[in-house]
């Protein structure tokens, strides 16, 4: 698409499509996959279609040259880790960027037979079980993943990921890329947005992540115990804060409206969630009746002081303190725990700019993006800002269906336009000038068609002070004709865009199995993985092959085994029918990449043990006979011979 075309698009097509929206959009949009419809574009259309593309504002210096090649020669490594949510597969995916190669999948909320997630006792303890030992949940829907910070950039310690279906948050350790904690959040449903803080609001020495914020979408009766189910006006959504280390819930905040996404400020003082349905409607028509929705800011220090002071409630069985952040209770800015910055109806996405100054909410149903200056929000809390509305320093038109925004660290923002199937590159300072009245300020820098209908996007290191403006990934929700068809179910299309130059350059399409939502792109230097485990990491480790054996206590039997390629330490072990068998396996091979598997036929058991790792499974020996347990993970020239015989006596 040359400059001429883009110009046309900006001047003619955009108003054209807006007209279309005004008239007959509802059906089309619903069909296109949005879960809500819309009535009309209500924003005061003060901004005419923005400046012509191609004229770069002076404030956006062009980066030197193009990012490196997307094709990696054999032996070359990707420059970035891409940490992707998996959607309703319930997992996390790790991609290499820029190659787009999937390197691994991290099972989180859902069982995984490869590593034995949901099969081993250790993973079950993390996932949560019912009284009978079976898993409490086996479905999940992961949307958002963000990693821990130090000094405003990633420290490679943790990444968090949400489960929208069952309201859980999981933590993945980035040294092993394994989930180590899962917390189920009480009092909520439709847990959606998630973001760690980047510093402590009070103690400047804590310049790293200690909290994780979580926003819930669906309003529910509180407590949700079967009472008060008819009065939907009493339904509420809560905003939650967890401790990053313990994964315990620190507090929750009762708000008006619900939470879409979450952002946190670099100074740790503020967290925000953009909201749709501030009307608290239960049906979507009701959700769009008000003039404006809001981006709600939380004053973290005041909330935590309120918790300390005992100014909170609890609901039902939950012991979690819930503070009141509703508009009604927070009218005085000087004591307010929360502030509601009005933004156009049904916004989507809130993103913090790497210059630490702004949060940007996208309009979704409004073709605009709203730029909120954090300094002014803090002024409001100090009582220095008359009207919270003036914290909005820009509200400019970008195109149809703006959803999410990423940054290049050079003052430019990249926003997905869902309906236009475009990414628009715009300059934040120019937009602020334009909003302030300088109608000559040209804030649109470039537009690029993407295939098709992008949701989230993110740029390399975009959410950190190290935003480097090299690569932009766009999660296109529809791939249609872009890949070899594999039947009615299509993969998503993750598109890679080179943003090192002034113009965006579409570089590659990558199919991903449905359906990732959000992702981050982390410089490889920030991730420091472990090569093998430490025997001492596992209290039940069998450190010496001589400790192997079958140990009985009544009908409870413990089988201790070690693996050393190409053999298990016991050639056979015998249990009796009816025994409750706990099998503990330690992999004593201290060799990088020498993982063993352990499968027991007919007992539905498989798991792996990485070098120096210990895992255990517990099962009922209910089928007499001989069962050849074998190594399922290739390990050695004599891998096929690596077996042990489980004998279950009648």
């Amino acid at each position: 698409m040359n400059t001429q075309d883009i110009k046309q698009n900006d001047q003619d097509m955009v108003p054209g499509r807006r007209k279309f929206l005004n008239t007959a959009a509802l059906a089309g949009l619903t069909g296109a996959g949005l879960s809500v419809g819309l009535s009309s574009c209500k924003q005061e259309a003060t901004a005419p279609a923005a400046a012509s593309a191609g004229a770069a504002p002076a404030a956006a210096p062009a980066a030197a040259g193009h990012a490196s090649s997307v094709h990696l020669a054999p032996g070359q490594l990707d420059e970035y880790y891409g940490i992707w949510s998996g959607g309703h597969t319930g997992d996390m995916r790790i991609l290499g960027i820029p190659s787009g190669r999937e390197i691994t999948r991290v099972p989180v909320f859902n069982p995984d037979p490869l590593i034995g997630w949901g099969i081993t006792n250790e993973s079950k303890a993390i996932m949560g079980t019912k009284a009978d030992g079976s898993l409490r949940y086996t479905v999940a829907d992961t949307h958002h993943t963000h990693a821990s910070y130090k000094n405003g950039t990633y420290d490679g310690k943790y990444a968090w990921i949400n489960d929208k279906i069952n309201g859980r948050i999981a933590r993945v350790k980035l040294d092993t890329f394994e989930c180590d904690r899962i917390t189920e959040i009480p009092n909520i449903q439709g847990f959606h947005g998630i973001f760690p803080d980047k510093a402590d609001p009070v103690d400047p020495a804590i310049n790293y992540t200690t909290r994780v914020f979580a926003g819930a979408e669906f309003s529910i009766p509180l407590p949700n115990d079967g009472s008060h189910m008819d009065d939907t006006s009493k339904y509420r959504s809560l905003f939650t804060c967890l401790d990053a280390e313990t994964m315990a819930i620190r507090w929750q905040a009762l708000i008006d409206g619900n939470c879409d996404l979450v952002a946190s400020s670099f100074d740790g003082k503020l967290a925000a969630t953009n909201q749709y349905n501030t009307e608290m409607g239960a049906k979507y028509e009701d959700m769009m009746s008000a003039e404006k929705d809001a981006c709600t800011f939380f004053h973290i220090a005041r909330i935590e002081q309120a918790v300390k002071d005992g100014k909170f409630k609890t609901y039902g069985d939950s012991k979690v303190p819930v503070v009141d952040c509703t508009r009604e209770s927070n009218k005085d800015p000087k004591t307010a725990l929360a502030a509601y910055v009005p933004v156009p109806k049904n916004p989507h996405g809130v993103n913090a700019s790497p210059d630490k100054k702004y949060f940007i909410c996208s309009g979704k149903l409004s073709p605009t993006a709203t730029v909120i200056e954090l300094a002014k929000v803090l002024d409001y809390f100090e009582g220095k800002l008359e009207d919270i509305k003036t914290a909005v320093v820009a509200e400019v038109e970008l195109g149809l269906g703006p959803l999410h925004t990423a940054f290049d660290g050079r003052g430019n923002a990249f926003t997905t336009l869902f309906l236009d199937s475009q990414v628009v590159k715009w300059n934040v300072e120019a937009a602020i000038k334009f909003h302030a009245g300088d109608k000559n300020a040209k804030y649109i820098v470039d537009r690029l068609d993407v295939q098709y209908q992008p949701g989230h996007l993110n740029a390399s290191q975009s959410e950190t002070v190290e935003a480097d403006g090299k690569w932009l990934c766009v999660g296109c929700k529809f791939s249609k004709d872009r890949f070899l068809p594999v039947g009615p179910l299509h993969p998503e299309n993750e598109q890679l865009i080179d943003i090192s130059g002034e113009k965006m350059k579409l570089i590659a399409d990558h199919p991903v199995r449905p359906e990732p939502h959000d992702f981050i792109i982390v410089k490889r230097e920030h991730i420091k993985t472990r090569q093998v485990y430490n025997l001492d990491d596992f209290p039940n480790a069998i450190k010496d092959p001589k400790e192997s054996g079958v140990f009985r206590s009544g009908n409870k039997v413990t089988v201790k085994l070690v693996s050393q390629a190409p053999a298990f330490s016991l050639r056979e072990f015998t249990v009796k029918k009816g025994d409750e068998v706990t099998l503990i396996l330690t992999n004593l091979d201290k060799v990088e990449d020498l993982t063993h598997g352990f499968a027991i036929p007919k007992y539905n058991i498989n798991f792996i043990v990485n070098p120096l790792e210990t895992k255990s499974v517990t099962f009922k020996a209910d089928k007499p006979g001989v069962y050849w347990a074998y190594c399922t993970h290739f390990c050695h020239a004599l891998h096929l011979e690596m077996r042990t015989r489980m004998i279950v006596e009648k």
Partner: protein, 730 residues
């Protein structure tokens, strides 16, 4: 993965077949055998291990002692228990894994002098020794250690005597195993040797680094030696060049903050240092555009990186898979592109960056004809510059190179030998004076020097110092000129080196005769025997070959020389064997009685023949003589001749070398510079024209004026200069 599984299936089947076909005992004696658990723990280690097998003569052993463990071995000496040496179990000392990722459990014996007395594998898990290579290969490999000193630099690959490096033959196809085994042997041996006082413990203080905010560029790092380059050419490993180097490595030390930050960037440096424990060190290596990988694949199953290691003095540091960290990139401006990179962590004790160390690259050299692989080491030294070390570089007393050590050790011999050469040369330079003092009956003024030269050459140079020059040196010299000149190679034997300088100079000044006739130990012995034969009354049996036959046979030695030279280009080894045509080795180096009979017969025969005919070997066979004879054509000073010599046969008759032809020309290539003809030249009783003139003057009552330099009486009447007065130098 599928391929691997298939492979494993095949491998498994092969192993099974092999087991069925052969008795298990011969297949793999020690593969994954079950060792008694007490072996690893019991104080009485030798109750569970065949300690006696690794230290012959031991009758008793102590309990485990020391840190790390070893046991003492005792012998019986007149009813007394006496310390014989030490036995150690490798796994008590180091857990270096071999190819399988598991250590080769090795029992090692060492005597009180620190020499290995025995090596026995108790258990190994090397699949390669199960499936392809016989276990005996490892036994054979281990046998190479026997008698070697634990303090020596012993490495896989070629010996490099000029660098004090003893090479071991590897096992083709099991590099990782043997490199690990070498590391195990040397680490175990030296750990115990240090404890018992055989080796001085090396205590290198750790480096401290000065604070600096400089961020040097790549060019600056190269200039001050903070990154070094190790390049191996394809020819050096027996490969054809395709324009690329076989291996082109840049490497450097990363703990030094200025260098580390320049290479890795601030974050990268801090991240890496965060991973290191006290006493651990990181280096980086990058390679670009090389024909091969410096990582290889030996490390994959948990073994070692078998192509690169670090060496500091006698301490070797190998890397295993867990010592590897990704090198993401180089932030120093101007760094070269690379397609292979690594950060390796040196975890072994004793490494200090304050002292020099070497990166060692182990290459496979492929013999083009047999495709057999041999191993060749290449290394490059690295030492942080003064500015990167607090207090600058410490003083390092580097051991003298071997050649220098030898020169220092042999200083007396060197002085004596040099004196001998100078005296002989001085004597020969003043030959005019000496031959004038001598006459046909009394040649002692000349012979006193020559015979002294002979005797000293035979006794001191030949038998004592074994400094008999040989054609093999000429061949080596040719090869060095053509391929690679290494001074160390020639300097390693000082007498030979000095001898050769002497030979080269004198050949071009006077011809080869001074060496061959006066100083060659074998030549001297040969002619001395002839002289003795003469003296003890065997003269009547002594003979010369007829001149005509001699003139044909004398070319044989040239054929021998060119034959050897030609062979040497195909195989130096074969040429060296064929060079046994020189009886020197048998005569001086080994001794007539110490060799097998064909050699003794050959050398003895030549010497015996020498009693009856003068220098038969020198005349007809000696390739060294032939090699020296050719340049002798270009000598500067020849022997004097007179006009009458063209017709007079007096000298020719007396020439033991048969070097004077019918026209009276001396064949300088054959001449041994015995000076007999020069004695005659001034002898007015022996030289026919002189004698004639003497008789004429005596008859005519004319005075006998002194004989001038041209061999004539000084004329009484001044004559106009004419052709008759011209001295002839043939």
């Amino acid at each position: 993965m599928k391929a691997l599984r298939l492979l494993s299936a095949i491998a498994g089947k092969l192993a099974l077949c092999a087991t069925l076909l052969q008795p298990a005992t011969t297949l793999a004696d020690t593969y994954e055998v079950k060792l008694p658990p007490e072996l690893a723990t019991s104080p009485r280690m030798c109750d569970y291990a065949p300690c006696k097998d690794v230290i012959p003569g031991a009758i008793a052993f102590s309990e485990r002692k020391g840190q790390p463990w070893y046991v003492e071995a005792y012998k019986d000496e007149a009813g007394q228990k006496k310390l014989l040496g030490y036995v150690m179990l490798s796994t008590d000392i180091t857990d270096i894994p071999a190819y399988s990722g598991k250590p080769v459990v090795t029992l090692i014996g060492m005597d009180t002098a620190g020499k290995f007395t025995g090596v026995k594998i108790l258990k190994h898990s090397e699949p390669i020794l199960l499936l392809g290579i016989p276990e005996s290969a490892l036994v054979k490999f281990n046998d190479q250690y026997l008698g070697k000193f634990v303090g020596d630099n012993i490495e896989i690959g070629k010996s490099r005597p000029e660098e004090n490096l003893i090479g071991l033959d590897a096992i083709t196809g099991a590099t990782v195993t043997v490199i690990a085994q070498n590391q195990v042997m040397m680490t175990s041996g030296s750990e115990v040797a240090k404890q018992v006082g055989i080796l001085k413990p090396v205590n290198r203080p750790q480096a401290r680094f000065p604070a600096s905010t400089a961020t040097p560029s790549w060019a600056e790092l190269v200039a001050d030696g903070s990154v070094q380059r190790l390049t191996v050419k394809p020819e050096e490993v027996g490969l054809k060049s395709d324009g690329r180097p076989y291996m082109d490595l840049w490497f450097g030390y990363l703990n030094q903050p200025t260098i580390g930050r320049a290479i890795l960037g601030k974050d990268g440096y801090e991240g890496l240092m965060g991973r290191l424990k006290e006493g651990e060190h990181a280096i980086f290596i990058i390679a670009n555009n090389s024909m091969d990988s410096f990582k290889g694949s030996g490390f994959v199953r948990g073994g070692l990186y078998d192509r690169v290691q670090v060496r500091q003095d006698k301490d070797g540091f190998t890397f295993r898979d867990l010592d590897y960290v990704n090198l993401w990139g180089i932030s120093a401006a101007g760094a070269p592109a690379f397609n292979e990179s690594a950060i390796f962590i040196i975890r072994g004790k004793g490494f200090s960056a304050a002292y020099p160390w070497k990166l060692v690259f182990l290459g496979n050299k492929i013999d083009k004809e047999t495709a057999a692989k041999t191993f060749a080491n290449f290394d490059k030294e690295y030492w942080l510059a003064d500015r990167y070390l607090e207090g600058g570089r410490p003083v390092v007393v580097k051991p003298d190179p071997t050649w220098l050590k030898v020169w220092k050790d042999k200083v007396v011999e060197i002085v004596a030998f040099t004196a001998l050469l100078l005296i002989i040369a001085a004597a020969y330079a003043s030959r005019d004076k000496l031959v004038r003092r001598a006459d046909r009956k009394n040649k002692w003024p000349v012979n006193v020097f020559k015979y002294t030269g002979w005797v000293i050459s035979i006794g001191f140079v030949g038998f004592y110092a074994m400094a008999q020059p040989s054609i093999t040196q000429v061949l080596t010299w040719f090869h060095s000129l053509l391929f690679q000149w290494k001074w160390e190679l020639f300097l390693s034997d000082p007498l030979i080196f000095i001898f050769w300088i002497f030979i080269i100079i004198t050949v071009f000044v006077w011809g080869r005769g001074l060496f061959c006739g006066w100083l060659c130990p074998f030549g001297s012995l040969s002619e001395l025997l002839y002289k003795i034969g003469q003296a003890v009354g065997l003269k009547r049996f002594q003979f010369h070959l007829p001149q005509a036959l001699h003139d044909k046979l004398k070319w044989v030695k040239y054929a021998v020389f060119f034959g050897l030279l030609a062979v040497s280009f195909f195989s130096m080894g074969l040429a060296e064997q064929l060079a046994e045509v020189e009886p020197f080795k048998t005569t001086f180096l080994v001794g007539l009685l110490n060799r097998s009979w064909p050699y003794t017969l050959f050398a003895g025969g030549l010497l015996g023949l020498s009693i009856f005919t003068e220098r038969p070997f020198c005349k007809y066979l000696c390739p060294l003589g032939a090699a020296l004879a050719m340049p002798t054509t270009f000598r500067w000073f020849g022997l004097r001749r007179k006009d009458e010599c063209t017709s007079c046969k007096a000298c020719a008759k007396g020439c033991g070398s048969l070097a004077i032809d019918t026209k009276g020309n001396i064949d300088q290539r054959e001449c041994m510079l015995c000076l007999d003809c020069m004695v005659l030249y001034y002898d007015d009783h022996a030289c026919p024209p002189l004698a004639q003139e003497r008789k004429r003057r005596t008859k005519a009552g004319q005075p006998l004026t002194p004989i001038n330099g041209k061999g004539y009486f000084i004329p009484i009447h001044p004559l106009p200069m004419d052709k008759n007065s011209k001295g002839v130098e043939a």
